[in-house]
């Protein structure tokens, strides 16, 4: 067996005028878990798409299992044992979970007919390891983002690949699922299979990987062999940014005023939300925590006017509003940064500039004729502030890297100066630096008197930025924690405790 399962040297790749990879190098020792890390747009996704041949390289050397290889399509790469969990997922919305798991790789019975019985049984077995609660007969289009992510992972594992590439697999996942995934990766390692793990979450990378490759601006900035050199976060950040690391502490809290910008009273939506009441004061950041899929996202969608509430009142800045349509929420001064940016947040084929303009058209005081030049300047400045990496503001959003797309989603809403900003996992798939920039902007909003309701799948984010954290369980607020000296354990404890308490007949409030 070769020392390296994969050797990429001098890889170049261009998209139009944008250089995505410039003499990049990636060596993967066989039988290990290789971390690939880098800022947004540093070329991580591009090189992984070159490995599984959804993209073809422009120049460079590609060795697989010690031999020169050239695959022309993902099918050929799959046949050679390379499988990939895509950042945007490769699931077909109208097919069921089990059909998706076997897509492109269906078990066959005699005569070339599909062996659906076996496929379904095997899928049931496979999902059990990672996401046993998902009904495998459901259409993938009806699943939550985290559930889709898990299905995508199961789908790749089902192929038993020699080399598995995971592009941001943990972004929408909560901790307990990440741990399950990691134990599966360790099993793979013990079997001698290789894995490339791409993530923005530094603790995850240092936890699971034993070799690290850092990308910066389409080049390999350095490698760290964790087994020999140890795990030094500062060194990793230095390699990523090219600057000395600056680890950011919890935020300085501004004193929030007594003015309530958002008041929710007894909100109920279908089976997912039951009698939710909460308050957000001006200048306050309130976090939503709890196990995944307990109604946090439904709460966001309902407040943003996407789904109608059956009961309850919503007051924005003391004024009751009827939320029947997203435009109602926007006019009331409430904006949502949605969790699923591809489906809800962006017009992928339109330019950054156009995307920034659409939001403004929903306002009551939008003039009939907008000044193109001043808009252009505003968008340009915003992209500069957020450090969106793009050839220009007239680049289609679909061409940007995942993290940069997320920045554009947030950028769209900032100029409207909303009274209430609803953030549904805004930092999903965004690198450390961009995350700090993003939350810096959010904090600036609070200084101007806005209230923020934040849901994040990463508890660490909640702890860094929130003033108060509400614990949600089965569609109700079951606990409230003041963020003073809290740590991740406290949140997990409160979530799990509330789950246990709720299993008892009466719903008891858990005091933080």
């Amino acid at each position: 067996m070769a020392e390296y399962i994969l050797e990429l040297r001098g890889i170049e790749k261009r998209f139009g005028g944008v250089v995505a990879l410039d003499r990049a190098e990636l060596l993967c020792p066989a039988g290990r878990i290789v971390g690939l890390i880098g800022a947004n747009g540093s070329g991580k996704s591009t090189i992984s798409r070159i490995i599984n041949s959804t993209h073809q390289l422009d120049a460079g050397e590609f060795l697989y299992q010690g031999k020169k290889a050239r695959f022309h399509s993902p099918m050929e790469a799959a046949r050679a044992g390379i499988s990939m969990v895509y950042q945007n997922l490769s699931l077909v919305p109208d097919l069921s979970v089990w059909e998706n798991i076997w897509l492109g790789n269906e078990p066959l019975a005699r005569g070339g007919f599909l062996d659906d019985g076996a496929a379904r049984d095997r899928a049931l077995e496979l999902t059990k390891q990672l996401c046993g609660w998902i009904d495998i007969d459901r259409e993938v289009g009806t699943l939550l983002p985290a559930e889709r992510q898990l299905v995508e992972i199961v789908k790749c594992l089902a192929r038993n690949p020699k080399l598995l590439i995971l592009d941001e697999p943990t972004a929408p996942l909560e901790r307990s699922h990440v741990e399950l995934l990691f134990s599966l990766l360790k099993t793979r390692k013990s079997q001698g299979d290789s894995t490339i793990f791409i993530s923005h979450r530094m603790p995850e990378v240092t936890e699971i990987c034993d070799y690290l490759v850092v990308f910066r601006n389409g080049r390999t900035a350095g490698t760290i062999d964790f087994e020999r050199e140890g795990k030094d976060e500062r060194k990793i950040i230095e390699l990523m940014t090219g600057e000395a690391a600056e680890v950011r502490g919890a935020r300085e809290r501004s004193v929030s005023s007594a003015r309530k910008v958002l008041e929710v009273q007894g909100l109920s939506v279908g089976p997912k939300l039951r009698d939710v009441s909460l308050t957000v004061h001006a200048g306050e950041i309130v976090g939503l925590a709890g196990l995944h899929g307990q109604g946090q996202e439904e709460l966001m969608l309902s407040l943003a006017g996407f789904t109608r509430a059956e009961r309850g009142r919503v007051l924005v800045d003391g004024r009751a509003c009827r939320l029947r349509h997203p435009a109602d929420a926007i006019r009331a001064g409430m904006a949502l940064v949605p969790g699923d940016r591809h489906r809800q947040g962006l017009f992928l084929s339109h330019t950054i500039y156009m995307n920034a303009i659409y939001c403004r058209t929903g306002l009551a005081d939008t003039p009939w004729i907008m000044n193109r030049n001043s808009l252009k300047e505003a968008v340009q400045k915003l992209c500069g502030d957020l450090r969106v990496k793009a050839s220009s503001i007239f680049a289609p959003v679909g061409e940007l890297s995942g993290g940069n797309q997320q920045k554009v989603v947030v950028a769209n809403w900032l100029p409207l100066e909303p009274k209430v900003l609803l953030l549904d996992d805004p930092a999903k798939g965004v690198d450390v630096k961009a995350k700090a920039e993003l939350y810096g902007l959010v904090e600036k909003l609070t200084e101007k008197g806005a209230g923020i309701l934040l849901y994040a799948s990463d508890n660490d984010e909640l702890l860094r930025i929130c003033d108060r954290i509400l614990v949600i369980y089965e569609g109700s607020v079951v606990g409230e924690l003041l963020n003073e000296g809290l740590n991740e354990r406290d949140i997990v404890d409160a979530s799990v405790r509330s789950a246990r308490a709720a299993d008892a007949p009466a719903h008891e409030r858990v005091e933080g």
Partner: protein, 326 residues
């Protein structure tokens, strides 16, 4: 909440959630209305003659459905039917060999047209709407070349064969059943699954290792096998050749597909639904005729009924989408 997590068991969907529920409901509704205005609708003779005259649209709708499911569209099926019909009328003489040869050439022409459209859409990556609109002009031109004026000779056996009955089962019904059975065999293979996958999300299918272009090409070829059957049925009914004959079938087949509950975006719906949709559209015309609607209003009434059917289909689908997609 807890109950919702319990698996619904072996892949069974409640009947109301089935893609066929609404097309079937609309079909039954129109049958009832038709029976009211036309006593004797269920007499075997009437059923047989209705099946025979509806079969061409039902078949071409099935073909269109396969193409739409794969995420494309074909605006040349009508002109293609004309071309095949003109091939028949130009080649069929008294002798059995000429008839057999005409059938073979017609089939080859059908598959060839499917292949050309498929190559243009799947490999040249032309938008299917425009590519097939252009090719329809070509098919029509060739048909006109073969038969500038309506007429010509088609061996009588084609017609007598078509109106044959095997026991109580009329031959057109048998053709429909065989076509549907063929599609179900395809659906039991990878190709069938891939047609849905590519139609639902081509990029994801490609990323999963599905050769999306080949699947799209095959969808066209399969679809055109049904167009061939449709052309055969229509030739048997008319016993002559006419280059203009197929025109109305193009957009009627698209309407049938939509009334049949298939999403024009692809990936969702059932071929049987499109066949029911085609039967529904045909019955609408029946109803208008027997209800003695003055001829000036016929088109108006037909259009209105189709709009109502479409609205029902789309309204019915919306709520569930909304709850998830927002």
């Amino acid at each position: 909440m807890k109950g919702a997590r319990v698996s619904r068991g072996k892949g069974r969907v409640p009947i109301r959630d089935s893609a066929l529920f609404l097309p079937l409901l609309i079909f039954v509704l129109i049958v009832v209305v038709n029976a009211l205005v036309q006593p004797g609708l269920f007499r075997p003779r009437i059923v047989r003659s209705n099946t025979a005259s509806f079969a061409p649209l039902i078949l071409v709708a099935a073909g269109q459905a396969i193409i739409v499911l794969s995420g494309s569209l074909d605006l040349s099926v009508g002109a293609g039917m004309s071309l095949i019909n003109c091939v028949f009328s130009a080649m069929m003489h008294e002798s059995a060999t000429s008839s057999a040869l005409a059938l073979l050439v017609g089939l080859a022409a059908a598959l060839g047209m499917g292949l050309v459209n498929g190559l243009a859409v799947a490999y040249l990556r032309l938008p299917s709407l425009i590519a097939t609109f252009a090719s329809s002009a070509i098919w029509f031109g060739i048909a006109l070349l073969l038969r500038p004026q309506p007429g010509g000779f088609v061996t009588p056996w084609v017609s007598s064969f078509y109106y044959l009955s095997v026991g109580p089962v009329a031959l057109p019904l048998l053709i429909l059943a065989v076509g549907l059975l063929g599609w179900h065999l395809v659906k039991r293979r990878r190709l069938g699954r891939y047609i849905y996958a590519v139609g639902s999300n081509e990029e994801a299918a490609y990323d999963s290792g599905v050769d999306a272009s080949r699947v799209k090409l095959w969808a066209y070829v399969l679809g055109w096998a049904f167009v061939f059957l449709a052309a055969f049925a229509v030739t048997a009914q008319m016993s002559s050749g006419d280059a203009y004959m197929g025109n109305p079938f193009t957009l009627n087949s698209v309407a049938a597909v939509v009334v049949g509950g298939i999403s024009l975006a692809g990936g969702k719906g059932k071929v049987l639904g499109a066949m029911l949709g085609a039967a529904t559209l045909s019955l609408v015309i029946n109803v208008i005729y027997y209800a003695n609607v003055p001829s000036v209003y016929q088109e108006f009434v037909k259009g209105s009924i189709i709009i109502v059917a479409l609205t029902l289909t789309i309204l019915y689908r919306r709520p569930s989408r909304r709850a998830v997609g927002g």
